[in-house]
Amino acid sequence: MPDDKRIAVLGAGMHPWGKWGRNFVEYGLAAASDALAEAGIPWTDVQYVAGADTIRNGYPGFIAGATFAQALGWSGARVSSAYAACASGAQAISNARAQILAGLCDVALVVGADTTPKGFFKPVGGERKDDPDWLRFHLIGATNPTYFALYARRRMELFGATEADFAAVKVKNAQAGLENPNARYRKAVTAEEVLASPMVADPLRLLEICATSDGGAALVLTSMEYAKRHVGTDDLVTVDAVSTVTPRFPQTIMDMPNFTTDSAATSDSVGPTFKQSVAIAAYEEAGIGPEDVSLAEVYDLSSALELDWYEDIGLCKEGEAERLLRDGDTTIGGRVPVNPSGGLSCFGEAIPAQAIAQVCELVWQLRGQAGARQVEGAKVGITANQGLFGHGSSVIVSR
């Protein structure tokens, strides 16, 4: 891939996920300083700061880029702040990448961090009868797990997925996350424990639904020319694609926070689903295909959703995800490990940090620095993520 189409990752950093209850800025700063230290680049050399916003921490969260920049010490860097629900982190990466590829800067810092409340995510306060996110809770009582469960049940009825398959995803990810110092839940679980946990949204149980977490993640991104000069080698981990496409009409899958789909009645044909199109755009941008992928970090908001992603990112055909799982293809040591970090299953979701954390994991895997969870010979990794209101992202990283 030509250097004017890709950027280098020189540093990655994370603050461990948990329920720490401290100011989100602390987590972002810890991650940022780790990423800068890994890159060997002083903060004052950063020319562009891309923040990923949190909407649950007041004004400082809405202008996260500036919040982190001020906390690191005003340095005159240019700044942006992005909110794109679960894809906020990828949007921040995309902003930094665009600046670098346009030649407007050489060194950018991307930071996302969150402090989260306990329990189900709920809409921000007030009575808003024109806000679908407010209305879905008010009129139907549809929480996020409602949607995950609708997808899971459909897998069972269409493709013969079983509750044991969903539990096996959780068991796999818990095992991987055991060895991850940044994971919140580092405890092996058995299928029996998963299947004995309370039913939240039939067929999904408590241990199969991702929690909400505090955490922070950061990346130092640079132009290829700067990276080669700074590191003194061409052997670099690079970002080859960042897809943040919107859905295409008619969107026929029920997506959060909607309670209706588009109508397909006036369309001659229906194209790929939204989640498929997010990955397709990333592959096209990177000029590779699913067969080139060594590992993937996908958004397992539920255990069952991980299976949907296997198909959506092209690791197998529709209806074959259960076979891939049962054959051990997606376990560390298998053909194409998925969520070697432990995934959301072991992290819980820290919204603006999560898409950045996915890339951090790929960077460490591609450098061979992932320790006991290392995917041997990893050359190309892909992330996939989807959130509310038509946001999704996929990032391809290679070495």
């Binding site: 809770f137 008010h138 009129l139 009582g141 469960a149 459909r154 009825e157 295409r248 309670f259 209706t260």
Partner: protein, 159 residues
């Protein structure tokens, strides 16, 4: 006997208040014919269409279950839950003519074990929550041919 409460829609203009045969009120674009629910008011969401005028249209009253689940735990506000909380089933239902899927609660008493992808359901009005004087009603789905008793029909909806 307690006084009969007035039945009011939980949201104005989204469904007819015909207790016997209620219907969701969607819209059709007068240019391309695209269906939408809730009603489109500003700009057609078909990207190939520049339509800005929409006709109100009742949507199909019956459909087939696309998928289903339940709410085992009480949803957070602004959901107004009964005390004590009673879990309920939720279905996403495909409407054939409109080729769209509409989510709604199932009427009380429907267990997920009695549902399948493809189960035929029909639209009813049922109580979402109540205060001292009013029952606020919303659309719910009920398996076709099921006992009508689950929709309480205690009074008439005030238009």
């Amino acid at each position: 006997m307690p006084p009969v409460k007035t039945r009011l829609p939980a949201i104005e203009g989204w469904f007819t208040l015909d207790e016997e045969a209620p219907a969701l009120l969607g819209s059709r674009c007068t240019s391309c014919g695209n269906f939408a629910f809730p009603k489109e008011t500003f700009f057609c969401r078909n990207p190939e269409c520049q339509g800005k005028e929409f006709a109100e249209t009742p949507l199909s009253r019956t459909g087939k279950v696309w998928s289903y689940t339940n709410a085992g735990y009480q949803p957070p506000e602004p959901y107004v839950a009964a005390d004590p909380y009673v879990p309920f089933a939720i279905a996403a239902v495909e409407l054939a003519a409109e080729q769209m899927v509409v989510m709604g609660q199932m009427v009380p008493g429907v267990d997920v074990g009695s549902l399948s992808v493809g189960t035929e359901v029909e639209l009813v009005l049922d109580t979402l929550y109540e205060d001292d004087e009013h029952e606020y009603v919303v659309w719910k789905w009920r398996p076709v041919g099921a006992d009508r008793g689950s929709s309480n029909g205690k009074g008439q909806v005030d238009a």
